[in-house]
């Protein structure tokens, strides 16, 4: 009698432990770095409008909001999400990762896909041209032919560079920089005339970083060869990928992804299309 009671207590205790440790849904159980916790990486620092105020824990900003919505679909509540930071290089280097997935506006490319796994895209971005207001006042028009003679700048690690070379084919070689802050600095110093960014980044730069910056125009999605699509990075062969993809598909189907996009990356009004 006593023995069976203790067994019952023991099993009850184990069940209770199990339920707290495996808060995840069936798909993601046992596939995360730490059972019961989802470790998500972002950039250091993470920028507006992807993460507001560099505080992903707050769930504000497009990527932070998507991350928490994804986690919820996968069965992790807010408390079970742990944030970590990585650089671009850390995310794509071979070997074990210290995150379950990594969201910092990684454009999905075939070559990158050979080294790491991408989730399904959570955002497709238009490309926009950032210039100085002065150039527009001097009569620069949003026309492809006018863009060729500009001195272009771009961030070396993004797919903006192949886009500049393929779409615009500038007359002189573009100058390349480590990050958006340096491109902005070069534009302020008048070393470059124009730079190509995805639309949300360009909006942020023109509003906050570059004094007298303005958006000349944007390339329509059909004009861009392959619109830039952002996906979360997972270690090559990570079984969690199917769970992330399933959760993303669910969010696309029920419209919650579109709602988050509308909330944090509002329709960029007033940016003309480039002819």
């Amino acid at each position: 009698m006593l023995k069976s009671l203790s067994i019952a207590l023991l099993t009850g205790g184990m069940l209770a432990m199990a339920s707290s440790a495996y808060a995840a849904n069936a798909c993601s159980t046992g596939k995360t770095l730490t059972d019961g916790t989802l470790t998500i990486a972002t950039g250091n620092p993470a920028y507006y409008p992807w993460v507001i105020d560099d505080k992903p824990e707050a769930g504000k900003g497009f990527e932070a909001a998507v991350a928490y919505a994804l986690a919820a679909k996968m069965g992790f509540d807010k408390g079970a999400v742990k944030w970590t930071r990585t650089s671009f290089d850390e995310a794509i280097q071979p070997g074990a990762k210290d995150f379950d997935f990594n969201m910092q506006q990684f454009s999905i490319t075939e070559d990158r896909d050979k080294v790491v796994d991408f989730s399904a895209p959570y955002y497709s971005s238009a490309m926009a041209v950032l210039v100085l207001m002065k150039s527009i006042e001097d009569g620069l028009k949003p026309e492809l032919s006018a863009l060729k003679d500009l001195k272009w700048g771009a961030v070396a690690t993004t797919t903006a560079l192949p886009a500049v070379m393929g779409l615009i084919k500038p007359a002189s070689d573009p100058l390349l920089y480590d990050d958006t802050a340096n491109v902005a600095e070069a534009m302020k110093a008048n070393q470059i005339d124009a730079a190509l960014f995805d639309l949300p980044t360009a909006l942020y730069l023109s509003a906050v970083v570059v004094d007298g910056g303005a958006l000349l125009g944007q390339f329509p999605a059909d004009r861009t060869d392959k619109p830039d699509q952002f996906g979360a990075i997972l270690a090559e062969g990570n079984p969690l990928k199917e769970c992330v993809d399933a959760a993303l598909a669910e969010m696309k189907a029920d419209g919650s992804l579109a709602k988050i996009e509308a909330e944090w990356l509002q329709e960029a009004t007033g940016v003309p299309l480039i002819k």
Binding site: P94, G95, K114, T157, P162, L176, E185, A186, I192
Partner: protein, 243 residues
Amino acid sequence: MLALVILVPMAPGWSRVKDSFFNWEIFVRTTPRLLEAFLLDVAIFAWSAPLIAVIGLLIALCRGVRSPSLFPLRMFGAAYVDIFRGVPVILVIYLIGFGIPGLGLPRPWNSPYIWGTVALVLTYSAYVAEILRSGIESIHPSQRSAAICLGLSERDAMRYVILPQAIRRVVPANMNMFIALQKDVALLSVIGPVEILRQAGVFKSLLANFTPYVAAAAIFLALTIPATRYADYLMNRQRNVRS
């Protein structure tokens, strides 16, 4: 060495590392463009080196003046060396490469090539000045006294007696600086120019593969190893002459 060759491929992650760092197909695909970008490094090096030699010598002479009336010159020399030897090269490149053009210079005078070169020259001439000064101070003072006794002016004593010996004595140390300069030219990439390191970085992020960096390293070695051997040769020759 043998152990390295045998043991490293036995590591469990070797095939992945090999794919990421030693991918022959990518090596062949990227090397021609990397060599082209390397020409820019060589060009920047070629126009920086003589400027560094001249300015380094001037600063060394400033630091060595004896006349009390020229004390400000000595102060300037000391301050120059303290500042530019004490600040990391990359900071000087950022400050001068973005800062001075930001003052509103018109094109082409705000070019990152010009101000990046200025930054390199400022930093390296501080090092070279100290090397030259140590060379000048290594010449025994009696030589200067003897030259002045023979009727040479202070200036001619420096020009014809001290400097020829001093410069010869520090050639190996300066060769070292020049090899370091060949590599530091790559730092100019932070302010825009697409030289070999940047081009390799572009390939790295496009292909998600680190092989272009290995290719760039090989190209650098092809230039720096002969230079290092030449410096060794000079140093050996000097030792033989002394002994």
